[in-house]
Symmetry: D2
Subunit: 327 residues, 4 copies
């Protein structure tokens, strides 16, 4: 298929390359002319504007928008919309909030333009391993785009198949690494929860390594003190243990390079998906102690002390036994 | 009654004074001779050793041990035990772990010595307001000591009585500020849970004030930003609101002195009771998300960064989008 | 002052009565004619519609809207707005979301109408004890309404004053039980956090009582088992302990009536404020482990089992040692 | 090597088979004669008692004890100890508490007997995939047992190697699926933390699936409602996503069989390791919000309502607005 890729950063650029490697045609547009030039070297056709891209694209025009979520995505989609013809297809492949998808899908539908939201996992490894995709939008349009999705996806690969999926009744797309999750927004919703889970998994490992490291503390009785080799522990857990995972693989890799992780400051950023997952849980009245604690640990990592800590000290000073607290 | 007070720190000294004020006799012993001397000025009889105290005490000898929990309490009680006569009564008024009470009560029972554990709340305000006490031990002995407990307790005071307690069927001691909670250890167990709750309450206020303070953040849209007066907020909540409490009174007091609490470092200590409450919940399989989170907030307040935070950053770096993390 | 009260439920009706008791005049309107009739008996002037109320009110017309937050509040305020004259004042005394206040204040300002948001704590006890109020809105208008606020508020009463507030520099309103927190929405924002804290405090007590009750479990070693009198424990903690509070008073009252609380199903509702507090914390990046856990405990109380619990069992079955799990 | 295997349940039996498959000799003992008979069919030599096993074993006698942790392990080790000769080696392969290991190692050392603790992960899949092992004990003895450990371990297999471990300086055992973690107890300590992490990971997935499932709730606005196919979602996440893991593989397997998991009751058991991990964190003062919340979710899954829930309702009833709560 022929497709316009807008946004040629690490994700968009690699996805375009993976598509071209397998025979698709890409019209490439980005505000950064260098990024366009590099992709042209890899076989893409350059576009100098949205309308130029439209002129060079096949029919119906298929737009894959791969720019930062929020205002930038909104403005790119708005500019596509301006001169869009009926039947064009806009794919938002970024990390948009699913309620924005719902709103945009309605807005575009008024002009006869189709909207598809794609949540993508795989990071910098995706070009080689393929991209795991969660897709929202009208069934017919998602089917029509299948050549693109099936190319971007990892495919069956060497991952062992799941018993119970081997018969013909199941949707083969899931096994190949992409699903049509539901109508507008469903793709980004599933991706959002995916990221919420990711935060929880990461924090579970983080806390476990904290307990391991803390076991060397000199405050403990000497015969209960262990100076554990965290690098080897991460490695051995990759090997047949119940907690093996790709995140653990990454941890083992990092610890093999530097067992003390001294290159990291300890300030941990978070993106919108973690927060939106908590929001969704509150709308559904679902308890989410682990995923929220994982998010809060990141907030906490970014301040030296909370004001609340001082409130605690002030109360302790107030009821009297704790004059040592003020400094 | 006549009683030996061992340990004349802030708590022991004030309790002895409150007892003497109301006509009880105190034999005073402490390793710190100055502390003894001060209490003698207030009317106590000085003792120079445990055995000297025994000689000066009435019969049966009643010991109130008010020293730091753990090894010191253990060694004082052991030294009392050495020459104890049958019928002596040892009261541990500190913050001992209730399982130590259970063990000690058995140990002393072998010598015919009675053991009573008293958890005390009230802090430095207790001498004036009275001490809220939770007592464990044999029913007969606790009854026998009632003159002491009823003197130390706050009494009915001006606190509004609880409807449903006004008839004669209820134990009047609770209204007067002390209870006989159960056999050995029960007093300290109830006090332990009291402190566990205290941690939870404190953290609830702390987090609330954090949200109030954070509302001035310049990252928020300007019309959603408030520069709130925390001092006035703490005060107004004391006045008819559902969350009024003594801990809030203390918070209002601290904020009235310094609305930014700049005198506090933000490092918050914890004592054993919070941990033991979590332990007890684990033995009982009771979920305790709030009380454990309150304890963990204090642990977290005492380190700059956890190693776990760095593990998170390392994973984020690993899956690729986050090259900004290493420093 | 003369004021229109719209919404004569328990809160609105009692507030109107408190105002009339102290000499204010009330024009009363409610869709429920009985509620109006009852308030007329208590001295109010009846209104049959918003416009009728306007005709009977003094100038400038002051509206106190005390109806359920959300759509009903919105529609009442909209209907007031239709024929509002410049200078009218609309007070939203309900539990509105503060961002709705910000929006409404702007909308009303376009017509020259002033908007004041008042968060109120005190519940059914307020008529007698007075209402603790947190107010948002323009300084001049809030000052103008002071006769109303000072009447509704508890006043100094018998609550001990906070040291450091005794001089003249502090705003005396806080001590009297009401504050002007800031511009539009600030009143409801502070009340929202108040309720968030309330959830945390309540859950801290709830967990503590759970640990106390669980200590009678037959799974524990016999000498570590206590059959504790929760009614007496709640009472004694009211008496001089660090965790005394109004919420504890209510707990003691409930336990004095029924020590097993058998009249309660265990399903616990929540209102918007708890959720909004978490939302606010996420916007501010403030960690809120205790307040969120308190909210989640309520969600969890309302389902028999989460689907997540079954996911856990399914995994346990999968890795093999746990064939007992499926039923 | 020749080794005595005591305890021929699923784990012990399969481990013995794996060892015999690769040329080791096993003397087999179990209270269940059938279990012994079955292993004899697989090539083991039967023993009828501990002393009989000793007579049939080579020198030095190596004992692998694979019985339930706690009293049974203790009694088996005690009975081995009775007639043990200097130089015998006792391996505890169960899930013992690491402090029991420390105690036992000292006890056995007095008789010149060596003690090795081995935490094992891999469950029923281990016979085929190999067992991931974390080992504690004296360096010399652990080296001596290497033929056994290297046989039980998975080996390099097809798992991609970790960059940074490819040179010769690193301990090759970790890559092969076993580590010598440290002195007595260190093996079980690392395994304990492994299980603590496992709880956290499982709960993260569980909460995520709860949010996905809850998105079909009829309480949500119709255009924000998705009826998601959880089976396909679990499958697609296995395919190139950041959260792929073995636990997710198991979840996908379970959902492929029954997308509603109706065969599971929702009651989730827990074993000691989760609790011990929290205990360890409290001794080290390490915050552990995620791992503790994961454990508490299991406790909560096993009761219909907590007493604490009723305490909440009672308070809500008390402050008045909530007469609907009592039933």
């Amino acid at each position: 298929m022929k497709m316009v890729m807008i946004g040629l950063g690490r994700m968009g650029g690699n996805m375009a390359r993976r598509l071209m490697d397998k025979g698709h045609e890409i019209v490439a547009f980005d505000r950064d002319a260098d990024a366009v030039a590099k992709l042209v070297e890899a076989g893409a056709e350059a576009a100098t504007s949205v309308d130029d891209a439209r002129a060079k694209a096949g029919l119906p025009v298929v737009w894959w928008v791969m720019v930062p979520a929020g205002e930038i995505t909104e403005s790119v989609i708005t500019s596509i919309c301006e001169n869009a013809a009926e039947g064009e297809i806009v794919i938002d492949g970024g990390n948009s909030f699913y309620k924005d998808d719902i709103r945009r899908a309605k807005m575009l539908a008024e002009k006869g333009v189709h909207y598809v939201d794609v949540g993508t996992s795989g990071g910098v490894w995706g070009r080689e391993r393929g991209y795991c995709m969660m897709i929202g939008g009208p069934d017919e349009i998602v089917r029509q785009l299948d050549p693109i999705f099936s190319t971007l996806a990892p495919g069956l690969g060497s991952i062992e198949r799941t018993e119970g999926r081997l018969d013909d009744a199941t949707d083969p797309r899931a096994e190949n690494g992409y699903i049509h999750a539901g109508p507008a927004g469903a793709g980004h919703f599933v991706k959002m929860v995916h990221n919420g889970i990711e935060y929880g998994l990461m924090q579970a490992y983080a806390e476990g390594f904290d307990v391991l490291k803390g076991k060397a503390s000199e405050k403990l009785p000497e015969d209960q003190r262990y100076d554990l080799n965290l690098t080897d522990i991460a490695e051995v857990w990759r090997r047949g243990s119940v907690i093996s995972s790709w995140l653990l693989d990454l941890t083992a890799l990092a610890l093999a390079k530097d067992g003390k992780l001294e290159g990291f400051s300890g300030h941990v950023a978070d993106s919108g998906e973690g927060r939106w997952t908590i929001d969704a849980a509150m709308e559904e009245a679902v308890p989410l102690n682990v995923l929220s604690a994982a998010l809060f640990a990141r907030y906490r990592s970014r301040v030296d002390h909370t004001f609340g800590d001082k409130v605690l000290s002030a109360m302790r000073f107030g009821f009297g036994g704790h004059v040592e607290m003020p400094q």
